[in-house]
Amino acid sequence: VFPLTMAARPPKVLTVGANAVVCQEADIFGHVTIGSGSVIHPKCTILAEDGPIIIGKDNILEEQCVIHNCGGTGAGPMILGDCNVLEVGSRVKCKSMGNRCVVEAKAHVHKGVVLHSDVVVGAKIEVPEGEDVPDGTVLFGATREHNQMGTFSQEAHTQLLARHLEILRKTLPHFHHTQKSTR
């Protein structure tokens, strides 16, 4: 996805929670903890360069998405909450993300951003550095308009997510080898 010299790749220290599915083809570098139930698709890149990355439960990280802790040397851990969906091609470099967020395709969340819960970052949206995005914000449109999302649509999100996770956990291991925690 982006050039990394052999020297720049931190050694993989991976902890995978129960029931999580992490495909072999997912590129994981550095100190990464993946919570139970999460599904990491192949060709997803998790790069814990400047600090560890902690991913919560029941997340879906789709293909070609990049999670990069680039908070500067000595930065704290990058924390992603539960039930988030990072769609295809999204790039997430935020300081932290809450629960039930959706980062849509090709969106780019720059470093230092704090996404609270129930946030939807629309397709191809660039969230600039250091933004603090409050609960329930929907970022969409060419001029990055935003409005509050109703609480009811979150019900639909969690239900849909549960169904997706069920199907993914069953079918992905049929077609891909999975990685386990490094010891």
């Binding site: 929907v138 969409f140 449109g141 308009e145 509050q148 009811f152 649509s153 239900q159």
Partner: protein, 294 residues
Amino acid sequence: GLVMEDPSAPQDELPPPRVLYHCACGMRTSITHLYVCHQCRNLRCPRCVTEEVDSFYCPNCLENMPSAEAALFANRCSKCFECPSCGHTLSSVFRASDSVFYLQCGFCRWDSLRLGLKSEKPDKLILTSIKRERASPVEQGASKLVERYQKIMSDQQRLREMTLRSRRSFSLSMPHFQHSALKPVTIADLEMQREEKEKELSGKSLDDVKERIPAPGVPEGLRGEFDVSEVATLEQRFCQMGDQPHYLRDVYPRRRHLFTKRSKRCRTCERFVCKPELNPSIVTFKIHYIALRY
């Protein structure tokens, strides 16, 4: 000038055409804009061609609509709704917790629950929207006017048929023309009416006006500081001519505008030069005599 550019393309995107062809009317255009009329054996530019609307279809559900139905629905789709905040098409979503249908936008995550627009059956959502549209005072006023003019038109039509028949049978038709509402209007009549109106109005002054309707001012909430994301843009306000709400929370979803399929005829010989297929999902043409093919 005598060179016609493509009226639909934005001016700075395409380079100007290198080779220009003369149309029969003297206009010089690129070969891509020219049609060929077989009867006249001539090139026709977009100005030498008359357009007629062939059929209506919804751009979202690609459903063909006969013109009578389209007129009934005010040239809008019967099923597809537009999101008030971003204009994308809404989809009806079922919420299992209290088995209720509501509309949701896939792009900006707007939902109709914040307006209270929900029902147990998806058809009812559509019916309530139509009822709202028809109930607005602007719609009612417009429909009354339309009815009145349609009546006058049908009376005129009947009169024409009667005079035609009576001319053929050589009977007297003069008494009919003296009926004032159906007389063909001449310029002299209009001039007379204008003079009468001017006389009427010149005698009055503003103080004679009995009923004053106060102009709708800016609502209190919009003076001083307010949250910009709650305020409706001008475009969104004009979508609802009835009440033109200031706030986004009062803007209701509208039904999607229909698009048209147009056929083109040569202006001189009335022959078809371009006729599309009726089916909206088929993009080829039944008749397509364009200069590029020759």
